[in-house]
């Protein structure tokens, strides 16, 4: 990822605090990574190194766990996180169009790309958030948006960007703001 500006600054004492709370034994690996991810939105290399140095968890276990579970990511996230639900109910009702539509206004052309070039938003697919009767659903931050069509997703995003003062790098993003 080219978004060097999104790299988090890791305070070693904060990481040590989590270790003190959650323990140093191997079974603490998942909760520790969850604490790191909760704080930074991803797993910064520096924080991983601190855990390896200060617990019984070795690098192979920690990276093994970090790369196994869908929740964890090693790349920084954008300033805002959008989660698009791809549960069965959302899939059969057109969740793919939410991605197409969001990626369009975010100017994300490359399939591998999940964060807008200006670092404003990251679009992540999630397995199922369990609101299947409101499908298709997406979350921007903690806020859920139910019963979406592709165009609705775009409208909500444009509105959200205005409220938080982000610029959407994609085509015509401003034109849709109503």
């Amino acid at each position: 990822m080219s978004n060097a500006s999104l790299e988090a600054t890791v305070d070693p004492s904060e990481v040590q605090g989590w270790i003190n709370n959650l323990g140093t034994e191997p079974s603490a690996a998942v909760p520790l990574l969850q604490a790191v991810q909760r704080a930074f939105g991803y797993l910064p290399r520096k924080a991983m190194d601190l855990i390896i140095e200060n617990t019984e968890i070795n690098a192979s276990q920690l990276f093994g766990v970090a790369t196994f579970y869908a929740q964890f990511r090693l790349d920084p996230v954008g300033r805002n996180l959008i989660k698009v639900c791809h549960g069965t109910a959302c899939h059969v009702q057109g969740a793919d169009r939410l991605n197409t539509s969001l990626r369009h206004v975010l100017g994300m052309k490359d399939e591998e790309e999940d964060t807008a070039s200006n670092g404003s938003y990251t679009v992540e697919d999630v397995a199922c958030i369990g609101c299947c009767s409101l499908a298709p659903v997406m979350l921007i931050g903690e806020q859920a948006y139910p019963n979406l069509k592709g165009a609705d997703a775009q409208k909500h995003l444009v509105k959200h960007a205005k409220t938080v003062g982000e610029i959407l790098p994609g085509k015509d993003a401003d034109k849709e703001a109503k």
């Binding site: 276990q61 899939h91 057109g94 169009r97 539509s101 999630v126 369990g130 009767s133 592709g150 165009a151």
Partner: protein, 593 residues
């Protein structure tokens, strides 16, 4: 009127919140500052969110559905006595005849969901007012031995609700008899099936019943330590379950010498981290131990050698939440419901193309048609229902012609689908069964832990073949290869994920073979879903030339002059068939076929 004497319950589960419950509550509080408000869990009528229950001072009750800030004033004026009853918003009232909407709940038998939507999930006192913790009290103060508890559960004949359907009492018996100083009870709340949300609603809407169920199970098997493994995607469930544990501990239901007995038990929450395979028992144990969630070879079974090598029982959320009811009402009352080999009730999460989606609890032995049509209200689109997908990625599709199949473990197994944890996704004629099979294989392939070759590579090959067919490049030989791969993957995989991954392919091939053949031979997707096999064209006679499609097209494939319908065309070279234009077109002037 300030609202004095009014009792107002607003459904604030995850889905209620998503539909806008907090905003409705806030507005209601402004209108009725003196009313007594309770944020209740999700009652499971997701299609009616936001839901508000109001009890007047005279005791009359009104249940309102689809409430939003626009129609809220009608309800407010009614309760102030200033307007007539807004019938279109009413679900059920003691003051009016039952509406069609109320059939959704009236036709259900609610045992597991007895409290969901009826109480504030963070209130210990409300739970106790509804008979909470009387089950464990009956056990500990009534002198029931662990063997008595197991015997009662055996009479109830409740089978594991997580999917596999193994009888709970037999499983408990194994762990009861296993040697070991410390034994563990794990509550499996890693509801990974995309399309299922029963466990979420229980953990969010009635967490104390799950705590109580865990206490009963722990006492029966002799466990002193418990884990509640809850998906991280369910933050509200984690929060409410944690609160329930704290309150139970304060009230003396968790900890040492519970209710003065020599039974001690406590629970820790483990948040899952997003791995479907962790729904599998041994993978879940590995995850608790801090490892990658990869299944282990059985035997030894977890009941003998589980988490940290100690005897461990893993029960699903729904199984456990049934236990307090079984203890209080007796195993026989539970066994009286259902069929010969599938007793009690089952909760389904009804979603997809269905009029009334949400949580449905029915006695075993009713037909699938009853669930979909009498309770769910059938198709909302006017198009006929085509199939229902049961059991998520491990399950299969049941065609409309077989909707009279009974809700019964063995009857559903016989169709090639599985009861599973209870996800039911309904589809009408505008869905593609090949695409659905591809969707599930893409899911299982991503979620395969990689331990067994056949699962790791086999699901990938299946996904590739299905993708090829969806793109119109498939051959009849590909279909034959799929049929050959399916049994091999099932046989050569260690755990449930691989053993069931081919089910969606096998059932769609069995019941919807014509759709596969249409893709391969006619290069046609009958459901109009597969992007490689459809084209989008503008029907100029219906077009108004409004240009909205042009604005939403992500690839600039649409062009024309404003207000001149006969100039509008889609550049087929550039079009990616995403369908955005169809969605935004008001006069329905874009054809996808």
């Amino acid at each position: 009127m300030s609202g004095e004497g009014l009792l107002i319950n607003v459904g604030e589960g995850t889905c209620g919140i998503a539909a806008g419950a907090p905003e409705v509550t806030e507005l209601l509080k402004k209108r009725f500052p003196d009313a007594k408000f309770t944020a209740v869990g999700c009652v499971g009528m997701c299609h009616q969110e936001v839901m508000v229950d109001i009890t007047n001072a005279d005791g009359k009750t009104y249940q309102w559905g689809n409430v939003n800030k626009k129609n809220l004033p009608k309800i407010v004026r009614f309760h102030r006595g200033e307007a007539d009853l807004p019938e279109q918003l009413l679900i059920k009232s003691t003051d009016a005849p039952d509406t069609e909407k109320s059939q959704y709940l009236l036709k259900q038998t609610r045992i597991v969901l007895r409290n969901v939507g009826q109480l504030n999930p963070t209130s210990m006192s409300q739970f106790q007012e509804r008979g909470g913790y009387t089950g464990i009290e009956k056990v500990l103060k009534g002198g029931m031995s662990p063997e008595d508890v197991i015997a009662e559960v055996k009479i109830a004949n409740i089978r594991g609700r997580g999917g596999a359907g193994f009888p709970a009492a037999i499983k408990w018996g194994f762990a009861r008899g296993a040697p070991g100083k410390v034994k563990y009870l794990v509550c499996n709340g890693d509801e990974g099936d995309p399309g299922a949300f029963m466990d979420r609603s229980l953990l969010e809407g009635d967490p104390h019943s799950v705590v109580e169920g865990m206490l009963i199970a722990a006492y029966a098997i002799g466990a002193s330590k418990g884990y509640a493994y809850i998906r991280a995607e369910y933050p509200l469930a984690v929060e409410y379950f944690g609160k329930a544990m704290d309150d139970a501990r304060k009230a003396g239901y968790l900890g040492n010498n519970i209710l003065g007995s020599d039974f001690s038990f406590d629970i820790k929450i483990k948040e899952g981290a997003g791995a479907f395979v962790c729904g599998e028992e041994t993978a879940l144990l590995a995850s608790i131990e801090g490892e990658r969630g990869m299944p282990r070879i059985r035997p030894p079974f977890p009941a003998i050698k589980g988490v940290f090598n100690s005897p461990t029982i893993i029960n699903n959320v729904e199984t456990l939440a049934n236990m307090p009811w079984i203890i209080n009402n007796g195993g026989q009352a539970y066994a009286d419901l259902g069929t010969e080999k599938s007793n009690g009730t089952k909760v389904f999460a009804l979603a997809g193309t269905i009029k009334r989606g949400g949580l449905v609890e029915v006695p075993m032995g009713v037909t699938i048609r009853h669930v979909l049509e009498d309770i769910g209200g059938g198709s909302p689109t006017g198009r006929p229902l085509k199939a229902v997908q049961l059991g998520g990625p491990s399950g299969g599709c049941i065609p409309e012609s077989m909707f009279d199949t009974l809700v019964d473990y063995d009857a559903i197994d016989a169709t090639g689908a599985i009861m599973g944890s209870g996800g039911m996704v309904v589809m009408d004629s505008k869905s593609c069964m090949v695409d659905l099979a591809r969707y599930f294989l893409e899911f299982t392939q991503l979620e395969s832990c990689g331990k067994c070759t056949f699962c790791r590579i086999g699901t990938l090959r299946m996904k590739e073949l299905l993708t090829k067919i969806c793109e119109g490049e498939g051959t009849m030989e590909d279909i034959a290869t799929l049929e050959e791969l399916a049994p091999s993957i099932k046989q050569a995989s260690l755990c449930g994920l691989g053993q069931t991954a081919p089910n969606p392919v096998q059932t769609t091939l069995e019941y919807f073979r014509d759709e596969y053949i249409a893709h391969v031979k006619d290069h046609r997707c009958p459901g109009g879903v597969c992007k490689g096999l459809i084209t989008h064209t503008i029907i100029q006679k219906d077009c108004t030339g409004c240009s909205i499609c042009e604005r939403y097209c992500p690839v600039d494939a649409i062009e024309g002059e404003l207000k001149k319908p006969d100039t509008w065309v889609i550049d087929q070279q550039a079009c990616i068939n995403c369908g955005m234009c169809v969605e935004v077109c008001n006069p329905d002037a874009i054809l996808a076929a």
